[in-house]
């Protein structure tokens, strides 16, 4: 090793530790070398060796069986259009046969090397990565020549203008990526949904308006605003405006001041977008009046204006103020009074 270094060079830099910063030990751990070679059964017994040989050969033959089985199963279990079970059987047998064919080659090769090939431990040194002094000198020569011919260091105008051109060239990307950032304040975007004074509550997905008398005790309706199906950005609007409508006994509701007229005869409407990370909260238990979010198990108590009673959500679900119009249909009193969905930096509430 030490002798090689002088002739071919080495990536490993050897340097003597300076006095005072390195701990010099005079009883450094010695390389114990390899443990003594333990002969394998195949090394000692020619019968066992032949047995191992047959085993490796058997694995390779098994691979041939797998290949043949793959072709056979493709023919025996064809994919019949319209019959999904045939796809499943075809996939199963084809996959299993190909797996057998390929795995047995690999297992056979590994077993071959472990049981029959030379079992002595050995060290193979890494190739040195440092070039010879000759190639290094040549490289320096090429660079010097290039500089001389192009005048890179001499012609300052060219050099500096090139550097300037390279520096400004990424600017379009900065402008483009800047546009990915929220262009406007997200508060009004998230605060304003399709709900507005007089917008009827309609059934998801049909858009049929809901009468207050349709919502019997214990019911849960999945609600979209009227006109959502005709809206230009249907999914974006639905993601903000989805609402769950429930009817409880009016005396069960604990209503805070200012929200007295937000429900109608025990019918309440809450945003379906979880205030944690925005999953749809719709697992409604009609006996306990709890709403469960399936993503992170936040629970909201509908009796207490969707107060968080468990889980990572920090705020109650926004309530949609509702009433009925003169035809008996449920309508929104106004939009949500706070941004729906999870928290964000600019949110004040």
């Amino acid at each position: 090793m030490a002798n090689d270094q002088e002739t071919t060079g080495s990536a490993v830099e050897h340097h003597a530790p300076s006095a005072g910063i390195a701990v010099v030990t005079d009883d450094a751990v010695q390389n114990p070398g390899f443990p003594p070679y333990r002969p394998r059964v195949a090394d000692l017994d020619p019968k066992k060796e032949r047995q191992q040989e047959r085993r490796v050969g058997g694995l390779f033959l098994l691979s041939i069986v797998g290949t043949v089985a793959a072709i056979t199963s493709y023919i025996v279990f064809p994919i019949i259009p319209g019959d999904m079970l045939s796809v499943r059987l075809n996939n199963l047998f084809l996959g299993a046969s190909i797996a057998l064919a390929l795995l047995t080659i690999g297992i056979g090769a590994v077993h071959w090397s472990k049981a029959l090939m030379d079992g002595h431990d050995m060290v193979e040194q890494r190739h040195p990565t440092r070039g010879t002094d000759e190639t290094r000198a040549k490289a320096v020569e090429v660079f010097t020549l290039g500089n001389k011919e192009s005048g890179f260091t001499r012609r300052k105008l060219i050099r500096n203008s090139l550097i300037g051109a390279l520096v400004v060239s990424p600017l379009p990307a900065v402008v483009l990526f800047r546009d990915l950032a929220p262009a406007a304040d997200p508060v009004p975007l998230l605060k304003h949904t399709m709900w507005d004074k007089g917008v009827r509550l309609t059934k998801d997905p049909s858009g049929i308006p809901i009468k207050a008398s349709d919502v019997t005790l214990g019911s849960a309706f999945h609600v979209i605003p009227e006109g959502l199906n005709e809206s230009e950005h249907k999914l974006e609007e639905k993601a903000k405006a989805a609402v769950l409508l429930m009817r409880l006994n009016p005396e069960d509701l604990e209503v805070s001041p200012g929200r007295e007229n937000w429900s109608y005869d025990g019918i309440v409407a809450y945003s379906k977008i979880c205030t944690h990370v925005g999953c749809p909260v719709a697992l409604y238990e009609q006996q306990t009046h709890h709403l469960l979010c399936p993503c992170h198990q936040s629970q909201f108590d509908i009796k207490k204006e969707a107060a968080v009673i468990f889980g990572p959500a920090k705020r109650p679900l926004p309530q949609l103020p509702i009433t009925v119009d003169d035809e008996g249909y449920l309508v929104a009193r106004s939009d949500f009074t706070e941004p729906v969905g999870p928290s964000f930096w600019e949110r004040e509430l």
Binding site: M84, V110, K203, D204, K211, G218, S219, L283, T288
Partner: protein, 267 residues
Amino acid sequence: MAQASLTRRTRPAGRRHPLATVALITVGLLATGGAYALFTTSATAETSAAAEAQVEDGQKLFAANCATCHGMNLEGTSQGPSLIGVGAASVDFQVGTGRMPLAATGPQAEKKPPQFNDEQVKALAAYVASLAPGPAIPDEKYLTGEGDVAEGAELFRINCAMCHNVAGAGGALTEGKFAPPLGGVDAAHVYEAMVTGPQNMPVFNDSNITPEQKAAIITYLKYLDETPSVGGFGLGNLGPVSEGLFIWIFGLGAIVGITIWLTAKSN
């Protein structure tokens, strides 16, 4: 008939009294009408007697098996809710799936082998329905599974999948409650559950999901039952939880095993 032949006998052969036809028709009509009236009255009497007997049977069964918790007159006790107005559908669901009578109190009544045969379940349902109106046992025509599968699937995803899983595999709720898997559930019980909202399931009445739409949902569930899983083992169709557990335990386990075998020395 007797009158007609009498008229004929008193007259010379070949001639008929002008009123003979009228008399004949009158007699015929009277006979038919009388027989029909007799037949129908006895039939109604029979059916109403049968219904009464069924209600009576139901009352006996109720008094013996249900009244301890639900009260002798369905009024409910501290142990069980009132059953006034729950309807035949609710009884058929709760008793027909074995959820009632309750084996033990717990987070929710669980499905178990029914304690009553179909006839007894129908008798109990008739008795409960006879005391107060409520949702009836659904019409056969909604249970055949001949609705619109695509519409049923969309309605299922919107109204049911959040609790029952998009493949109907069921799911967990809070504090030990759960939405049961829907595979292999009788169509009538699915319909009744939607109408009555058993336990913590919300009610989906006919103005929310119309009977035709309920039939479509039942069709979708039947489709799920009959369509094999193309992707091999469904692992309970529970999605990333069971699939993740499987691959982390068996997939990683296999990789660890192979690595140990690769690096171990041969004997």
